[in-house]
């Protein structure tokens, strides 16, 4: 009976992780501008992979070998914001003048996906 309880906890955690990753991919697909898409991509990097690692930790009986996965997630939590920071810099330095275009979009209100509207 205890085995089935563990199975259902692991299944719930894995389905939660799948939901996080699916929402990240949905966000990347639906938003209109890169800066908004990076917000969505961060969900997968932080919560999704933590749920996967926690599920593995519980499934193998809480043991020290599976705790390596949690350390891996800890490492990823350090490196993912640095990557996002650099991607933001790439976008910032390769676009002509972001605040001007964002303001222009709001004034015109043409609803298109240009000028930073999403």
């Amino acid at each position: 009976m205890g085995e089935w309880i563990r199975f259902f906890i692991v299944a719930a955690l894995l389905l939660l992780a799948l939901a996080c990753f699916a929402s990240a991919v949905l966000g990347v697909w639906r938003f209109g501008y890169v800066m908004n898409r990076m917000h969505a991509a961060g969900i997968g990097d932080s919560l999704g992979i933590f749920c996967v690692a926690a599920a593995l930790f519980i499934a193998g009986g809480p043991s020290w070998e599976e705790a390596k996965a949690l350390l891996l997630v800890f490492f990823l939590w350090f490196t993912s914001p640095v990557s996002t920071h650099f991607l933001g810099q790439v976008e910032f330095f390769n676009s002509p003048d972001l605040p001007v275009y964002a303001a222009a979009g709001k004034e015109e209100g043409d609803g298109s996906r240009r000028n930073g509207n999403c």
Binding site: F75, F78, T79, P81, V82, H85, N94, S95, P96, D97, V100, Y101, R114
Partner: protein, 337 residues
Amino acid sequence: MKEKFWRWLDGSREYLEDASDMDETPYREREEVKTQIRERNDSLDKRRGTRAVIRAEEKGFRLLYSWVAVISAIFLIGVLLYVVSYLPRYGQENPQTTLVARRYLEDGVRETGAINAVAGMILDYRAFDTLGESHVLFTALVCVMILLEKDRKNMRRGYEDYYRITGEGFYTPNRDGIMQAAGFVLLPSILLFGIYILLNGQNGPGGGFSGGTVLGSGLIIFTMAFGFDTVDRIASRRLLKGVTVVALGFYSFAKGYVFFTGANGLESHIPKGTPGAILSGGLILPLDIAVGLVVACTMFGFYSLFRRGSIGGKGKACSGKKAGTGAGTKAEGKDNA
């Protein structure tokens, strides 16, 4: 139509295609400096009459080069085809696939002392191939150095201003505050993890090549976080050269000794140890370390060459700062002469 395809493939960098207020002054300045220098060099060359001599020499050399290239390629193709004709036919029962594989898997632990069968294969049974591979890595690094390194022959005298603008000072990796904070925490773990993979080559997945890759990546992250000046104090040109040469020399001599004793039926007294411990597997551990160091130096050397054109800080050519001060004196000297 074609232009649109290439622009789609590269990814657009301008946000709007008709963006008109992009700041183009740095590009224009650089182009102006380039055209000025090119015109000055052309006038100087025309005065000295060197162009005709250079063109004649190049034509003769190019003819000789093409003939030698074609002949050596045909020779190499002939030799390889001759060797291939000795292989067994496709689909035939041959000892390679039945007997050899079985022996590697079944007697591998007993004969080499390594649990990881792949490490036992590449560093014990087939160590000659790995010797060639390490030398290939070293040769690749030397070739990239020949092509990309800035030395006095390809830093033409008139171009110092150009090199000062687009040289080391501009392309130094930015000392980013966020990157430094992350590197402060992560780098010890990354380098330690690389050493862990190197040492456990015979007990689990890992070995020389992957451990060296992780070490090289750690050095690259270190460079991006703290700048080239800091790294040059640790991984200077002398250190990289010395480490590569010593590692490859040690590999050649150690494995040469084993080949010699094995071919003549003598007993090479290298202890095998107990499988599963760190100091086991005979020569596999030292050779792993040698290969890992070569790979790490190669990876860092490639990054350094592509980024700023020289491996150590003070290469054979003038670095960015020196060119800045050298440009003034050299240009004045040339104008006077």
